[in-house]
Symmetry: C2
Amino acid sequence: MSTAPPFDDVVRAIRSARTVFLTVHQRPDGDALGTQIALAMACSRLGLRVTMANEDPVPARYRFLPWSRRIRTGAAGLPRRFDLAFTLECATPARAGVCGAVARRAKVLVNMDHHLGNRGYGDINLVDPTTPAEVLLAEALRLRLGMPLTRDIATAFYVGLYTETGGFRYSNTTAEVLNLASRLVEAGVNPRDVGEAVYECFPVRRLKLLGRSLGTLDVADGVAWMHLSRRDFTDFGAAEVDAEDFVEYPRAIGGVKVAVFLRETPGGDVRASLRAKASLPLNRVAQRFGGGGHAYAAGCTLARTTIAEARRKLAPALRAAMNKAAKR
Amino acid sequence: MSTAPPFDDVVRAIRSARTVFLTVHQRPDGDALGTQIALAMACSRLGLRVTMANEDPVPARYRFLPWSRRIRTGAAGLPRRFDLAFTLECATPARAGVCGAVARRAKVLVNMDHHLGNRGYGDINLVDPTTPAEVLLAEALRLRLGMPLTRDIATAFYVGLYTETGGFRYSNTTAEVLNLASRLVEAGVNPRDVGEAVYECFPVRRLKLLGRSLGTLDVADGVAWMHLSRRDFTDFGAAEVDAEDFVEYPRAIGGVKVAVFLRETPGGDVRASLRAKASLPLNRVAQRFGGGGHAYAAGCTLARTTIAEARRKLAPALRAAMNKAAKR
C-alpha cells in the first residue's frame, strides 16, 4: 500500500452527509480523543449533526478538553444508522466495542488509523502507518475542508500530539509534529495548561503507589525490574489505572537496556509492561507469552502466576532477545 | 530598555576577533551549555581560536553533547587576555565565578542573557528578558553570521530549548520555541536521543531516594509536602544532586496549589524548594526566609532547623500568600 491516503474521498463523504458518528478504540488515549473531538467540531461547523460515543469513558485527565462531555459512553440510545461514521485508531471495528458495531451500520464507514496492522475494513480507508499521530491525519482533513483552526480544535490536536509522542520525547517526534505544535500554540493553545491537565493531575494514591513500587526496583543484566502486588494496590485504595506508565521510571535508569514493570491483576494474573531503550524486538518476546506491541514497547499477561515466577519466565526470553540484538 | 538587542554589534565583534572566550554561570544548565557549545562551534568555523571554561564541571547528563569535553573547569592555565569574551546567563560576572574574572579582562565583553535582573555590565549587552531561552539569542546570532545549522549545533540548541522549557512543558514553550525545535529536528536532531540522555540517565539511587521521599507525601490546605532527611540520603549513598527536581512530583498532584520539597542539607540546615501551579508570589515567601526565585518557582534555606520545624514556619507564610492571591 503505497498509494496516497484518500483524503479527497473523505472530504466528499463529509460534504454529502447530514449525520456523522465518531468513535475510538477501547481505553481511549489522548491522540484518539483529540482527533475525535477536533473532527466533531469541524463537522459541526459544516452543519452536520454530530454524535460521539465510545465503549469506555473519557479518562479524567482528558475531561478538560472542550466537548469531552459530549462523548457518550456505550451505544445505548444511539440512532440505528448514520450517514457517515469514523472509526479512529481501530485495527478492526471490534476495537471500538459496541460502538464499532454502530459505526459498521453507517452508510459510509471511514476507517482512519495511523497504526500498522489495520485491516482496511472501511468503505474509505484513511490509513497511513507512516504518520506519527492520528491528529496529523485530522489536520490534513481540516485543511482540505477549509475549516479554521479554532483555539478549541487546536487544543484537541495539541493533546493528541503531546500524548502520542510522550511529551515530544518518543521517536515519533518528527519535525512535522513540532511544526504543527508550533502552529497550534500560535492558534492559542497554552502548552503549560495542557501539560498540567494531562500529566500533572494525579491523585495522591498514585504517587504513594509509585513510591512503594520504586522500593522494589532491581537492576540485573541490563534489565530494570519493578513491581506491585495486589496488596500494594489495596493498601492505597488504588486501581490499575493509577499505575499507568510506571514502566517509564525504570526505563529512565542510565545503562539499562530493558525496563519491566510487573503487577498482579485483580484476576490473579501478572501483567508485564516491557520497554526497550535501543531497538529490540520486544513484541516478539511478548508474543511468546500471548501478548504483543511494538519493538520498543510491548506487554503480555502471564496467567495464574506470581511476580517472582513471571520474572523467572521473562528474564531468559529478554536475555535471548538482547543477545541476538547485540550480535546483529 | 525597549531598544532592539544589539545583534549587529556582536556580529561585528566576532568578525574582528581572533580569540574568543565563552563562559556560563555556576552550576550550569542545559540552556547555558547548549548556547556555549553552539557559539563555540560557530566561532570556530569562522576561524576564531575558541576557549570554553566554567567554574563548575559539565553535569553528567550533558556530557553526550559534542564538544562538551572541550569545556575546561576553572580558570587555571587560561591566557591572560582574550580579544572577545561572552558571559552567558550571568546577571553579574560573579555568577561565572573565577571564569567571570577572565571574561572581564577581555578587550570586548559580550553580556548575553535572557533573564530579568541583568546588570548590563558588558561592553555589549545582548540582554532580552522576553526571550524564552538563551539558545534563541544564539540562533539569531547564527543567522546573522550566516553560519550553517550543522547537526551538532542543532543538537546543542535542542538541549537548550528542551531543558529550559522543562521538556516543552513550562509557560515559556512559545510558538517560536516549537518552531525552532522543528527546524532543529529537520537539521538532524533526534529528540528521542536527547530526551534519553538528559532525562533518562538516572542512577538507581535516585529512584530509590524518590521512592523513599514519595512515602512522606502529605497534602494539607492545597499544599503538597514531601521531604528527605540526611538519613535517607546516606541510606542510599545519594548526594543532593540525586534529589534534583523532586519538587515536580508533589506539583503533579491534582488540586494542589503549591508543592514544597524539604531536605536536610549536610550542614544541618533545611533547604526548601517551592513550586506553584497558578501564579503566586512564591519568591516573596522565599525572600522572607532569605531566599529568592520566580513567582512560580522559588527556594530558601532555613538555618539550623528540622523538617518539622521548617514546615511549621513555611505553612502560615504559604497560606497567607494563597489567601492574598485568592482575594485579588
